[in-house]
Symmetry: D2
Subunit: 135 residues, 4 copies
C-alpha cells in the first residue's frame, strides 16, 4: 500500500478534508479484493465440483469488475464528484457483501474461498467506512 499513499501525498493540489488514511485503505482493499476475486474464480474453475460453484464464479467476476472500477475512481482526486463516488461505493459494498456471503458458504471446503471471503469483508468494511467520511 506504500505506493497508494505516496501517490496521495504527491498530489499537487489541495485534497480537501477527506480522511486520507481511510481513502488509502479503501483503494488498497478494492484492488486486493479485485485480484483475489479474479484468482478465486479461477481456482473454482479448477475444482472437480465446479458445477456447484457456478454462482460463486459469477459473483467473483462481478466483484472483481466493480472493485477494480471503484479502486480506479478513488485513485483520482481532480474534479472529485461526491455523488458518483458515493453511489459507486454503495455498489462496491453490495458486491463485496454478496461475494463474501457466497464464498463463506464454501470456505470450509475451499481454502481459496476462505481467503477471498476475508478480502471481500475487508473491502465491504472499507467502503462503508469511507462512505461515512464522505457524508
Amino acid at each position: 500500500m506504500t505506493h497508494i499513499r505516496s501517490m496521495i501525498d504527491t498530489y499537487p493540489k489541495d485534497l480537501g478534508d477527506l480522511e486520507l488514511t481511510k481513502l488509502a485503505q479503501c483503494i488498497s482493499a478494492c484492488f486486493e479484493c479485485a485480484q483475489t476475486c479474479t484468482a478465486c474464480a479461477d481456482a473454482c474453475l479448477a475444482e472437480d465440483m465446479v458445477a456447484d460453484l457456478a454462482k460463486c464464479i459469477r459473483t467473483n467476476l462481478d466483484c472483481a469488475d466493480i472493485c477494480a472500477a471503484t479502486g480506479n475512481v478513488l485513485s483520482r482526486r481532480t474534479g472529485f464528484d461526491p455523488n458518483v463516488t458515493r453511489a459507486l461505493l454503495e455498489a462496491c459494498r453490495a458486491a463485496c457483501k454478496s461475494c463474501g456471503d457466497e464464498c463463506e458458504q464454501h470456505a470450509g471446503m475451499h481454502d481459496h474461498c476462505q481467503v477471498c471471503a476475508e478480502a471481500c469483508r475487508r473491502c465491504e468494511k472499507a467502503c462503508a467506512d469511507l462512505m461515512t467520511s464522505l457524508a
Copy 2:
C-alpha cells in the same frame, strides 16, 4: 448490437422475466458510452485549452470505468443478483449524468464533447429504463 442479442439468445438456461430488449439496449449503451468517454478524454487532452478541461477528462475517465464494469456485469446471467445489479445501475446512471452535464457545457466548442454528451444521455436513460424493469 447484433452480437449482444445473439449472446442473450444463445444463453442455455432460462433468463427469467427480465425484459431482454431493455437489457440488450443497456449493455450496448454502456459499452458505447465507455468507448466514447475514453476517446473524449483523449480528444480533450489534445485541445490547446486542455487546462480548462481537467474536470471533463476526469469525469470521462470515471464514466468509462463505471460503464465498462456495468456492461460486463449486465452481460452475465448466471446467478443473477438484483441487489448488486441495481446498485451498479444507479452508480452508472449517476456517472453518465455527471459526464453528460459536464460534456454538454463544452459541446458548443468541442464536437467530441457533443458526441460524448449524447452517448452519456443514452446510457443514463438506458440504465434508468432497466432499473424500472428490475423493480
Copy 3:
C-alpha cells in the same frame, strides 16, 4: 460503430497517416469480442457440462481482458506510441486466435461458442490488418 468513427472524426489534431477505417474496425472488433467473450464465459458457466468447459471459460476471460485493454489503447490518439500499440495488437491477436480455436471446438454443441468463435476470428483479423498498416 457510428460513435467510434464520430470520435475519430472529431479528434482535434492531425491523426497522421494511419488508415482510419482499419483503426475504427479494429476498435469495434475489440469491444465486440470483449463483450462476446464475457457473455460466452457466463453461458459456459450455465452449461450442465461446465466441468468440460473450464479451459474455454479461462480463455474467454483472458480474451475479454486483453480485447478491452486493446480497444481502450486504440481509442487514444494523443502521444501515439507505435511500439506499445504493435506489441499489444500482437498479444490481442494471439488471445483471439487462442479463444477462437478453443470456442470452435465446442461450436457444434454450444451456439454461444459459435457466436464467440466468429467474434474472435473477426478481431484476430482486424488486429492483423491494423498491424500491417502500422508497419
Copy 4:
C-alpha cells in the same frame, strides 16, 4: 502482496513448474503499476502545466490498462496458455518502459512522476524476469 501468494498457494490443482515467487512478484508489480499510473494521470491533470503533460497522461492511461489486464491474466492458472501470456508480458514490458521513460523526464519537477517511474521500472523488470522463466 500476501493475498496474491495466498491465492497461489490455495489453488487446487498442480501449478506446473512455473517459478511461483516470480509469478507473485509480477502480479503484484502489475497492479501496483496500474494504480500508480491511474493516480499519476490524475495528478498530471491537476498540474498548472498540464498542457505539457498530455503525452505523459496518455502513456499513463495506456500503461494502467495494459498492466491491469496483465495482472488479471497472470492471476489465472487454469488452462494456462504460454503463447498468450508471453505476448501480453511483452506488451506490458513495452508499456512500462514507455511510461517509465516518459515519467522520468518529469521526475525532477513532479514527485508523482518520480513515484510512477519507479513503479514502471519494477513492473518492466518483473515482466522481463517472468518471461525468462516462461521460456
